[in-house]
Subunit: 218 residues, 8 copies
């Protein structure tokens, strides 16, 4: 392990993305090693999929240096960047359980200095809620739509919002919705023109796509 | 074959549904045989999935006795029943290619004396179209929603219409939408409470479900 | 979280359904918060998928106010509504393990004042059991059929019962039956005309569909 | 090709099954070559999946020597064996379109001298039809059940028939039933104990299984 | 629960199979209730999928009355039947992990008085092991073949054994073999004529099929 | 049909996208009707999935007014817009058969006045071809990557190109690659951060996404 | 098209493989263009998936220059290389319909100067045929095993042959075997250690893998 | 159990592979029994999928005799063989989580006396890392490529490395990548000619394939 995690300076220069640490499947010891290296190098760091159990298991001196958010299972190491003024990103979610993935997107954007607007629980089974907040949503340059189950929301948003729409399916649900394939396929099949889609639960990827569009990685 | 198609009088008495003839996979000769028997017995008959090619291939004297509709691929034999007054059924579709299945439902209902209201091309990527016709739709007792692709429409309708909502996925689409599984799963996963679903392209089944609800099979 | 759960008065007015709380995936703390709000607002509440572990973990003062049923994993808060006279709903199940989902349907109906008739363990591998109770089942206006594995029961019931038949597949089973896809597909493919289907294990949805048909949400 | 089709005398001796020719995917020329060899060797031959088009395309002198059945797409070469008295095989089908596969089974059995009893169109959506013929069916030693769509029939038969039940799913159907996976999975998940299953549309295999049970291959 | 488990005397009379108890998914309390009833009725009982954990959790006085086998996760209540002389059943397995399912089949047969011959670990990657025991296997009337992974064994056995061959796929394996679908499909696709197949891990069903063939249920 | 195709002026105003006509599944008569209406209204029109057969079948006076491209199966009606200067879109493809979808994207962009740069046949099995053209590709604001089979190209491009990357899977291929699911899943799983994905073969959608990003719909 | 097909001299130098032309999905005109270029450049060429229809449609002067093989759907342009002495490749097939893919492998090897040994129709349902030819097969350095349906053959061969075994699934079959997924998964799950697998029907790839192992691309 | 695990001397002689013990699904007691037998027989032994929990649970006297590696979950019993000089095997991985499977391959090779070269974390989203180490990789006779997610790496390596390339998909990933099917399909669909593939996570199999190629099993 110790030989394989290095800051890829070349990649950071080319793409403008810092290395992020996907903690899913990593042991606490592996996460601790990475944190120590980042601290030694005096670098900030974004950690995703750091669930509460793994977070609790980290050495306390390391854990205390993290800005941890349990809902999104993300942690930030180091002082946050200053918030930039960019016209911004709206994150729209269908249900409360989509907040995990929406939070991962929001925290990733915050790491790069973007404060996203969050519009939660405006799923299409209660379409009047979305209508009520449409003006606000339209005030942003990019819209990330997070939805599970039937994922009908991106189609409605995509018919009302003119800018780029990035859809993120979530694995929330039961029966045929379990695991997120239904939401994913629904988004890919959307009748609204020009919606693009990320992998299931990939809030981090949606945020990176928004950063590429805004051109503000660094 | 000649031994296996008989009017199941008992079934008709129990359920109130006449025998319907699913022509998909049947040869013209097989369809002709059934038509002859129905004419001999002086019975009306509903034929579904009778595509234009099969219809053209029927013996002309039989073909001329049919009320054929190419869009829905259905044919009616015999004088139509009088239209009943029931409070009615609304059929709502997302796109023009859903008219095949919507038509199968409408013709089945008409066979039983119900004139359905058709609300076509009100998919959610243009939500204002649906809003404009919502009052009319609400004037019906039962709503059949036909949609392919992402099938977001039933969720929106199910959040606005108080009565029974029967959703029918269609096989229209390409990529992950091809074949109708995405639409089916999307409908089953709908966040709107109490929507029920039929098999892909099953307009006939949706009409029968509406007839069961209205209690007007015969 | 605190900002996203609100009583959607508009939805309740439109559809006649109260907000129900799907507890699957919610933490005890999230459930407690919702219960407190409902108590403050002096509202009744239906909770589904509240498994025994989560129920046990609730704060005891809140837990004591709940009418909890372990088999169906549902809880009711507040005094139950008076039972209405409606002609009624029959719930028919194939096997004992289908009682979880059947119970969710029954409890949802009870929340809205409907006392359903339960006909358990009448699967088709013992068809004489069903025959013995058919007269009773026919005395109801709507029939919900709950079945896992091969889900042959709805086809048989759908050929004997004239009114609306709502089929609910369950995830019970092993091998190709595990997860409920086989039961779902079997129901969607039923030869009995006019059967409609809900998502796997969705007893709540089946009950809502019955309420829409009976028109007795509120 | 000419080097690879030979009578496997050893196999015939071991299992008692003659070589059968699966014509699906073979060109008329390939079938003709095999027929010529069989005629040269003065052997009888069973051909399956010989659809009408391929049959028509065969050289007329060869075609005339075949006992061809269009419904089951099978042909027999040579004089048929005398019918044996064995207690017999019942073939039960759910719908008329299952007759293709049922016919393949019946013709295979006939090739080996067994005249099967055919009980067609007794699907469970009309359960009284099956009841009416149950006594007759029970008079056989082995029961082959052929069904597509939801394939509910084998479960009912398996609960009423005491001897071996061999279930054959058919690819008949549309939507989720298309291709026969739903019928296959439904049969494998049957609640009736001791039902066994063949591949989709495999009437030939079901007949061979019955022959193994009866011990009458040769 | 208490109302739904009853001895179905009619079924037992028709099919000759006693009620068996599938313990997968049942709580210890549910199993205990059934055991008590069987003891009260002075009946023997076969329990399947009673894993070690559930077995340990049973009330000790009940547990002590069971003849439990941990490998096959089965338990027998009551004195075993006398072994009958029938010509017998051979159970052939590909690997050691198939012994769970093979054991379930063997114990079910034993419950009905049949002592099966077990031929373990004769998978085709070591074909000489099978050859060495072929003579013995051929001494039985029926052959049950249990295999996971690529399930090549039934094809080889089916080409060497003349009597009925019942194939049971197991869920053993990883990657594309995990869960048993590969083994199931492989068995259904076997080139050896007349092999029939049971659901994944369904040793009980295979035994019942053998009992139907031998006609020795009771 | 005649009632269901109308210019949705409101949608055009909101999103800036003209109505486009997806000809897959439409009859020549239906396409002719739409063309006549567009000509009457003096509007330009983009038609996609108009394959050579359907194009040939159009009435000659209508066909002659179309700018048709057989490779991409697209047609433009009306004078093209002037080309705008926008920084541009690069379209990168893995193989020659991806040119169908790439062409659909390029023609859609051209309809809106964007002349895309095409970089064909630079798949990763010949990585030096991509390297040779990387400088040119980087000169564009947005990159659309079209690939079938294993779709490894977007991951490589996504690691070298800083701006937005829109990946389009194609249905080209055989075996596990047939239909495009492998390419789709591969793109969704890409390790390069911030790549977003369209439905299989959806070149039109990718172009619309690029237009949303550039903000140049109209 | 004309800009995108070029001889990739660098690739040829690196890997030692000539460009091969996959004709599946290419029009005759596209194939003719490539042939003309090869003739102009005085190069040999291997064409795969050139079915009889496409071959017939080629311009006669070009067609006459091809060494065409209808069974394998391959064509060679130019004088064949001299046969090299390498220890060789054995190609083993389970059934006659596997000869298409086996032929593609054999012709690819021949293009590079390797004359493979073909061992056809030695499927495991007749294991004695394989045994009879095992000595010959073992005389080769590499073994390619081609099989469809249950693909049991590679496991048996892999347990008897010491050298590299390359397994190629074929799409031959019906029911669950149709398309080749069952054969593919069966091969990947083989219990014989160290078997590797190619895509379905990929005889060309298997030959290339053998060439890599023998180190004789050029 | 005790009767079914034996050293298959014949297999070892034929193939040159020692029996290896797949511990996934085995209890510690079963593993201990095998270890005792190997010690009694004075044999070395390779154990795979022996996760940390199972390893910890082994009897301490047995555990102490093992050379255990937690990352690859493998254990070696007995003195290692001397390292042979063979030209060697390169193992290339895309990400750090692929080290589990890469390690299983490396340890298997080491068991047979081959010291593989490990090239970790050279995934294609950072293509320059691979370029930097290409010279070294090319110094080996065989290349094993281990990758999860989109598995783009084997296509790139297969276009740059002339010798045999064995690709191993890993189950690492989330969303559509979870379980390894995407990686598997991507590898099978690779455009680089002559790549062959093993089952998901099957590092052991890849090593055995390399040993077959090198001819150094024993």
């Amino acid at each position: 392990m110790s030989d394989t995690f290095v800051w890829d300076e070349e990649r950071e220069a080319r793409l403008g993305f810092d290395e992020a640490v996907f903690c899913g499947g990593k042991t606490p010891a592996q996460v601790e090693l990475i944190l120590e290296r980042a601290i030694d190098a005096d670098r900030g760091l974004l950690l995703t999929r750091l669930d509460a159990g793994r977070h609790e298991a980290l050495r306390s001196d390391l854990r205390e240096r993290l800005d941890y958010d349990a809902v999104s299972a993300t942690a930030l190491l180091g002082a946050p960047r200053a918030v930039r003024s960019t016209g911004g990103v709206a994150i729209v979610t269908a249900g409360t359980s989509d907040l995990v993935t929406a939070g991962e997107a929001a925290r990733t954007l915050r790491y790069y200095g973007i404060e996203a607007g969050l519009f939660a629980d405006v799923g299409v089974a209660a379409i009047w809620r979305l209508s009520a907040r449409l003006g606000e949503i339209r005030g942003h340059a990019v819209c990330i739509v997070v939805a599970g189950m039937d994922a009908a929301l991106p189609s409605v948003v995509g018919g009302l919002f003119r800018g780029p729409v990035i859809a993120v399916p979530t694995s929330v649900g039961y029966g045929v919705a379990a695991g997120g394939r239904t939401a994913l396929h629904s988004m890919l099949s959307s009748c609204a023109p020009g919606i693009t889609v990320c992998n299931i639960d990939n809030g981090y990827g949606a945020a990176c796509a928004a950063l590429r569009i805004l051109g503000v990685q660094r």
